[in-house]
Every structure is written in C-alpha cells, then in structure tokens.
C-alpha cells in the first residue's frame, strides 16, 4: 500500500495532545514573575496531535525508507551489514540505557568494565597498544588521530610539519579532518593499478609532512600491498601513518593495521561491528594508537585498579583533551561489545572471509556486463563503472535509480572520485548466495536494458511513491523548514 503523508505540522489540530502528565504535586509557580523578560511569549512551531496521529505519521514515514532489514543495501564503504536484534535488546537494558555519566564510579562499574574490555578487544583486533572509545563517529576519530599526531610532533619540538599526505582515492573526511586541525593537504596520486606506490610517497615525503592518511583496503576495494614499505618511508621521514578504519571489516583476524606500520587508526563501530545506522547515525569512532601516541589519547580513559575496580583517568598531562561532552556514544559500544562476544575470534575471521568472498563473487558475476576499472582480487567491496554503457547514453545514476525499481538500495555512486561513473558495491558477509545471485541478475538485466530500452532507465525509479527528485531546485532556492500557510 502506498500512503500520502503530510508534514506533521499539517496534521495538527488545535487542542489535540499526545501526552498527559501526572498532576503537579508541588505548588504551581508564576513563570512570568520568576523569569520576567526571559519568559517565552510566542509558542514554538510544534504540532498538536494525539498519540495515534503521531504513531501513524511516523510509521507511514518509515515505510518510505529502504533498510537493511528489508534487503540488500550494498553501499560501498558504508558497510551496511545485518544488525543483530540481540544487540538492540541489550542496549535497552535499563542498567545500561539509563546509567548517568556523572554517577559516582562505584555505581557504574558494569559500564566501565564493558568499556575497558571493549578497548582491549579493539586493541587486539587491530594490533594497537591502546584505544580511546571517546570519538562519536569515524570522522571525529580521524580528527582525534590527527590531533594526536600534531601533539606528538610538537612534544618533540618538531613544529615544521604543516602538511598531511592523502591518496587521491581517500574518503573526503580524511582531507577535511586534516584541514580542520590546521594542516595543508597534499594529494598523492594512485598508480594505474589503483594502488598507492612507494615511489609516489617517497617523492612527496619531506620534513614538512606530519602524516600520511591511508585507507586499507582502499576505496577501490584493493589491498594496499605496498603498505609496509610506504609506512617505512613515512616513518624514516619523521612522519606518522594514519589508518582510516572504514574498511576494517575485510581484515578481521586476517591482518592487523598495527602490523602494517599504522600508528593511529579509527574504528567505525557501526560498520565493522554491526551497530545500526539509524538513518545517518549515531556512529562511534574509537581511535587506536601505538605506544608512542598513548600519552596523547583523549581523556578520560578507563583504567583498572590493582583491586580490580575500574576508574576514570583524566590526569594525563600530554592528552589532546576531550572530544566528547561525556564518554562517547556508549550505546554503540554496548552493541559492538555484544557483537564481538557473539562472534568470537573465529566468527570475526569468518566475517572478513565471507565479506571478501561475497564481493569477489559479485564482481565475477558482473565482470562481463560492467566495466571493471582495476583487475585482480578485491577485498570486501568492488568498484565498477558505466564506461561500458557509454554508447547507450546511460549513466551510473540511471543504473542506480533503476535498481530502486527492482527493490534494491543502489550501491555508492560516483565515489571514489578517481573512477569516472563509479559504482561501488559492498555486499557484506550477511548476504546469502541466492540474494547475491538475484542482485547480480538484476544488474545484468539493467545492463541489457541500457542497450535495448534506455528510455525506461532514464525515467527510473517509477515504482516508488516519488520519482526522481529535483536536487538543483532544492539547492537554488533552499526551503529548509515548514512555514505556516498564512506566513508570507
């Protein structure tokens, strides 16, 4: 069934209420006398609705979303894997969901223990010395990592380093995080094989370079085979190596960033460890470091006392400071911890293996129907392009929109930037073979359609409530909030 659903404000009827409160058991107060000038006189633009109105409104809205629980969501680099229901149930245990961040430590020992153990598990998986759980998202973890690198250099009196090397295949957050901490960004070109080459890094390496930021496997789905040598080059030039952990999914139990010469990295708990993405967040971006960077970790960190109790440690003189108002996105830590306990060492490894098998299987099935810009085995995601469709006039955008008509969320499109018309597919390990075959068959059908009936693709999607949306118009004359009809 397809619904029309107005804005929540348009459903509003004066006098309706969705909540009632117990009667006040203390004397009422005269807000005007207490607050004077500071009292609000005009009510905010909020709707007036009954509970059923609100429930129907948001239930109907929800039916217009694609979701992992509805089917394959192969967004490359976003790792939309299945989100276990157990984790959702656990995260709602009142002892976890309702603990207060300022409660005395003796009253929150369970959560401190969980955080302490999660830190150790993440350090083990990555080969890092220590991990701070505080950053609220991968991009905030990147920022924390870059800050630690700066603090490290400055602690040694090495203040010339003003630049950060970033491969041209990197996520946009890498250069943005470096710039947000005052660094200039120097792009390093990838080779024709899609990999970063030692010579390119060597050529760019100077005593002004603070760090290289690298994603491995990279955003083309390829393992950076020269990573160890590249790390050596950066280290011998006095720089640090930052590892973007977005694609850690592919390495669990098989290879550890710490063994590749990575000095600092972030984890995306929502990607690698299955915490749900909630329509755009919250994520969580813990950051792991080697010994040399431990003194600079954000505060507070959890320590275990000799007596076996847990406590906060804020007294760390060289810390970069605090990244979060409290202790980070703890609710995501709870889910990630439950996931790691559920899988165990074998399960984590199996995860990476099946993610990689699925990506290679899909690539193999699509190889003859779409252009594959780089040869060879991929890790957990693969990149195709629309080059083979050039004579049809059909673009990656058309293919993506047609996938919607077939009930699929499209892959990531037009990223990485170094592949024109890129389609970046990440099936994840939670998809079964039949599901992959159905998706591959659909992709092949669309490629055929591009040649036989391109018009149909240009108008896709047609089976959705809305057809293609005019994004140019939205940007040119931005309407960013609802206004009552009588307001001019």
């Amino acid at each position: 069934m397809s619904y029309e659903e107005p804005l929540v404000f348009e459903r509003s009827r004066p006098g309706r209420r969705g909540v009632d409160l117990p009667p006040l058991d203390v004397p009422e107060v005269d807000a005007e006398a207490l607050l004077g000038d500071a009292l609000r006189t005009e009510p905010a633009t909020l709707p007036e609705l009954s509970e059923p109105d609100v429930v129907r409104h948001f239930t109907r809205l929800s039916t217009w979303n694609a979701a992992v629980d509805l089917g394959l969501y192969p967004l490359g680099s976003c790792t939309m894997k299945y989100n276990p229901k157990l984790n959702e149930q656990i995260a709602r245990f009142p002892g976890l969901a309702l603990a207060h961040p300022h409660a005395p430590v003796e009253e929150v020992q369970g959560l401190l223990e969980l955080m302490f153990e999660l830190e150790n598990l993440l350090a083990t998986v990555s080969g890092m010395a220590r991990v701070s759980l505080q950053p609220a998202a991968g991009a905030q973890g990147e920022l924390a990592g870059v800050m630690m690198i700066r603090a490290y250099h400055e602690s040694r009196g090495d203040t010339r380093r003003r630049k950060v090397l970033i491969p041209d295949s990197a996520h946009g957050t890498n250069p943005a995080s470096a710039a947000l901490n005052g660094y200039d960004v120097v792009a390093v070109p990838s080779g024709d094989d899609g990999l970063l080459h030692p010579e390119a890094v060597e050529a760019a390496m100077t005593d002004e370079i603070a760090a290289l930021m690298v994603t491995n496997p990279n955003t083309l789905g390829l393992f950076e085979t020269h990573i160890a040598r590249i790390s050596e080059i950066v280290h011998s030039g006095g720089g640090m190596v930052y590892g973007d952990g977005a694609n850690l999914n592919a390495l669990l139990g098989l290879s550890r960033p710490g063994d590749m010469g990575i000095d600092v990295m972030h984890f995306n708990l929502h990607k690698t460890f299955s915490t749900p993405h909630g329509g755009g967040g919250p994520g969580a971006g813990p950051v792991g470091v080697v010994d040399a960077l431990v003194p600079f970790l954000p505060v507070p960190v959890v320590e275990r006392t000799e007596a076996g109790a847990y406590r906060w440690d804020e007294n760390r003189p060289q810390t970069i400071g605090r990244m979060h108002g409290n202790h980070g996105n703890v609710g995501m830590m709870v889910r990630a911890y439950a996931y790691i306990l559920s899988l165990g060492a074998d399960g984590l490894r199996r995860c990476a293996e099946m993610a990689v098998l699925n990506a290679n299987y899909l690539l193999e099935r699509l190889r003859e129907h779409y252009h594959v810009p780089f040869p060879g085995t991929v890790m957990h995601e693969c990149v195709l392009s629309d080059r083979g469709l050039a004579d049809t006039g059909i673009t990656t955008l058309d293919v993506a929109k047609r996938l919607i008509d077939h009930g699929y969320h499209p892959p990531t499109i037009y990223f990485p930037l170094i592949v024109a018309g890129a389609l970046m597919i990440e099936p994840t390990e939670s998809e079964d073979r039949e599901g992959l075959d159905r998706f591959a068959d659909t992709m092949i059908e669309i490629a055929r359609e591009a040649h036989d009936d391109p018009e149909a693709l240009r108008h896709a999607p047609e089976r959705t409530r809305l057809t293609r949306l005019d994004e140019t118009r939205a940007a040119r004359k931005p309407i960013l909030r609802w206004q009552p009809p009588d307001a001019s």
């Binding site: 309706r16 209420r17 969705g18 909540v19 203390v26 004397p27 107060v29 609000r40 905010a44 909020l46 709707p47 509970e51 429930v55 948001f58 929800s62 217009w64 979303n65 989100n83 149930q89 245990f93 002892g95 976890l96 969901a97 309702l98 603990a99 961040p101 929150v108 369970g110 959560l111 969980l114 083990t124 998202a137 991009a139 943005a176 470096a178 710039a179 947000l180 901490n181 960004v185 160890a228 098989l254 909630g278 329509g279 967040g281 919250p282 605090r322 409290n326 996105n329 399960g347 098998l357 699925n358 085995t377 108008h459 409530r465 949306l469 005019d470 940007a475 309407i479 960013l480 909030r481």
Partner: protein, 444 residues
C-alpha cells in the same frame, strides 16, 4: 555463526565461480608478512543466551537514573519519555537505514529531518537548523569554528558559565588552529558579567541556562557583540528550557547550539546524545552538517532531499565547512517523535513542571537552612551550599536513597562546599523533601 548465512556448499560453489581453490587463496593479495598467523585473543563466540546473561550482569552493576529522588543532571537530564518513542524508533526502517543519499527511497528519514529542522529553528528563534551534531559540546566547538569562518577572526570569548566539558572540547577542537580563547567571568548573581568585545573577536559564547543553572540575560550581550562585528553564540545545555525561555535568536544570538538529549533521548551514560546547531539564513553556507530541503519530483509532487551539499566534505574535501559526516539521525528521530507527542501545550507544561519542582526544591533547601549562593533566576537546576562537604552530604543522600546532585568541588572549588541540584518532572515532592533533609543533615 548465526549472522552469516554461508553453508560449506555455498562456499565451495562460490569459490569455483571466483576461480579460487579455497578461502585462504582469496587473501593472496595480502603480503605474507602482513598476514596475521595466530588466533585473535578474543573469547570464543557465544550463544545469544550467554551474551544476554553477560550483559545482564554488567547492566546490574550500574545505578539507573530517574525516579522520585534523582537530582543529578549537569548536562544530561532524566526526563519522562512516552512509550511511543521507543516503539517507533525500533522500527527497522528507521533503525537500519543509512544516510539518505538516495532520496526516492529515503523519504521517511528526509521528511523527519525536515520536520526536526522546522521545530528546532522555531525553538531557537533562528531561521535554519541542521540535521544534528554529535553532542552539545562538539556542536559548540563547531559553532565557534563557524563564527571564525564568518568573521575571519581567531579570538573567542567564552563565558565561565559554559559547561566545563564543553569548554574542554572547544579547547581541543581549536587547539591546532592558533585560535585564542578568553574567559568571561561570572558575576556574583551567577550570570556572565558584561563583556568588552574587541574587534578581533569572532564570537562570544554564552550558555543558556548556564552550567550553574542560572538564566543569562542574553539581551545584554547582543548589542555589544554585534557592534564589535562579532557573533553571539548561545549554547543550550537543557533543551527543555527552550519552550519556556525567550528563544536565544530573539535576544540577538546568531548561532544557537547545544544538547537536545532531554527531548526523548535516553540518558545512556552520556551518549549517544543529540547536538543541534541553528543559525541565520545569511550564514547557511558556513553552517556545518547536513541539511534537508524541500523540492519536487519529476511529476511535481513535494519531496525532500539532502541539499547545499557543496559545503560538505564529500564534495569540498579539505575546503569543506567541517569534517562531520554521520549525524545523530536516530536520536533526531526520537526527538522529533517526542516533540510531536508533547506538542505545543505538552512541552510547555513539562517545562513548567520542571520550573515548579526546582522552585519547590529551592524553597525546601532554604527552609532546611541551606544557602543558595546565586540570585539569578533558574530553570530546573541550581547550586546549593551544604553545611559540611559535598561528599558527606551526597553520602547522606545515598543513605536515604537519594541521588543528590553533582559535587562541584572539582569544577568550582571557589564556591566552597556546593552541589548542583537538578529537579525534573520525574522527581516527587516526597523525594525533594528527603533531598532537603539529607543534604542539610536534618532528620528526615
């Protein structure tokens, strides 16, 4: 392996298609010396029941916030959350969807964000609000960065009434940029004393209500700040004050940011919470984070898309307005549902109940002989001096099964033995009476 579907047959057949003899061979691209040879030092996988038990044990070792006699706030507030909020956000289409990159199949998320933007613009008294930030502290840091971009200046004046953790995050964010942060002291009444604003100041940041619970006279700042060409940033620690207090935008604030956890988001040990950021339309291109805009589809029907994305890191890379990528979508959805259920009248009523409970608590504490050091009006939180030490007073409270508030010794030693007390709609008259008895040391 309950989350991974592959059978041995599947694996064999898929490997045959890929042309590899076994799973290990898939990893031949990883150089031998970079292969992890051992087994991770991670316990063996556990059944659902075992994990449930383990997490149950960990949960049992924590105190829960909320209830009749909970008076601890300080930036994270226990409030009543209607049942419909969790029921709705548990829907998989809300929980397990991603950033709405493909608008045709993300209208649920997009319309919800548009509704949130509308509510927050109105609550803050500004023209545009974004699709959320990580938390109130990072939102405040991003507001300072935004003011620096708008004014091209590098000095920030920050009130001492700003939450110490927010101040700490601000210092961390600005640390690498050569910005200078100067403090504005609080006056005797608990409010920020007036500011002298030099012409190198990018913005003045004032928290409303401030960390000590006092309601600031924002109007006193507006003119001085603007005359110097700086921006006024109001950071809101307790969003539930917004329906009751004159919106900061009306007082001349150019950016209003803060923490909206109070709008239906669980206390959650401090996160995930819900940062927000609102501004004037003329500064929209310097506003960090995602924005949703209204448009039409090919058939002319109204719909919503992510817009003005050219400010963002996935397009502008190192020239982006910020590096923020994910937001707090699920928390934003909770808050939008909460605000829809509360509505115009309900939200104001909850706010009034908070005010009334806090005023009653102030009176009872004074009647018990305790001093309230500040004369400024407050919303639901205030400072009280205790007769001996905060730790002794709070221990007495614990004895009486009362969570008495925040010991201010660490944050404000100059106040003497002081406790920050928060009273919300959840606490009862009887709980407040017990609090007064416990903190004063009087028999209950």
């Amino acid at each position: 392996m309950r989350y991974i579907p592959h059978t041995d047959d599947d694996i064999r057949e898929m490997l045959a298609v890929v042309g590899q003899p076994d799973v290990d061979a898939l990893f031949h691209v990883i150089p031998e010396e970079l292969r992890f040879k051992g087994v991770l030092d991670v316990p063996s996988g556990q059944s659902e029941l075992e994990v449930q038990k383990r997490l149950g044990e960990l949960a049992a070792a924590n105190t829960q916030s909320g209830g009749d006699a909970w008076f601890l706030g300080a930036g994270t507030y226990a409030h009543f959350v209607p049942s419909a909020v969790d029921a709705l956000i548990s829907r998989a289409e809300i929980t397990t969807s991603y950033t709405p990159y493909q608008p045709e199949i993300s209208q649920g998320t997009l319309q919800t964000i548009f509704e949130w933007q509308t509510m927050m613009a109105s609550l803050t008294g500004l023209e545009v609000a974004n699709a959320s930030m990580y938390d109130g502290a990072s939102a405040t840091a991003e507001a300072a960065l935004m003011a620096m971009r708008v004014t091209r200046r590098e000095r920030i004046l920050v009130s001492d009434g700003v939450h110490p953790h927010t101040l700490h995050v601000l210092a961390t964010y600005l640390g690498g940029l050569g910005a200078r942060i100067d403090a504005l002291p609080l006056g005797d009444d608990g409010r920020t004393a007036g500011a002298v604003v030099a012409d190198d100041v990018a913005c003045v940041i004032v928290q409303q209500p401030n960390f000590l619970g006092c309601i600031e006279e924002l109007g006193a700042f507006g003119e001085t700040v603007h005359a110097a060409g700086a921006l006024l940033v109001a950071t809101v620690g307790e969003a539930l004050s917004l329906p009751l207090l004159r919106p900061p935008g009306d007082w001349g604030a150019d950016i209003v940011c803060g923490e909206a956890q109070s709008f239906g988001v669980p206390v959650g040990f401090g996160g995930p919470h819900l940062g927000f950021l609102a501004a004037r339309m003329k500064h929209v291109r310097q506003l960090p984070g995602r924005l949703v805009g209204e448009t039409v589809d090919a058939r002319g029907k109204r719909g919503f898309v992510l817009t003005l994305s050219t400010r963002e890191q996935h397009i502008r890379r190192e020239r982006a307005t910020s590096n923020i990528c994910t937001n707090q979508g699920l928390c934003l959805t909770m808050a939008t549902i909460y605000l829809s259920l509360m509505g115009k009248a309900g939200l104001r009523e909850v706010a009034l109940q908070n005010l009334a409970k806090a005023e009653y608590a102030k009176r009872k504490l004074q009647e018990a002989g305790l001093e309230l050091p500040f004369s400024a009006p407050t919303f639901n939180e205030f400072v009280v001096r205790v007769p001996d030490t905060p730790s002794a007073a709070l221990a007495r409270a614990r004895e009486a099964k009362v969570t008495g508030g925040l010991d201010l010794t660490r944050f404000r030693p100059q106040l003497g033995p002081a406790v920050l007390v928060c009273a919300t709609e959840l606490c009862s008259r009887e709980g407040i009476d017990r609090l007064a008895a416990a903190l004063s040391g009087a028999p209950a």
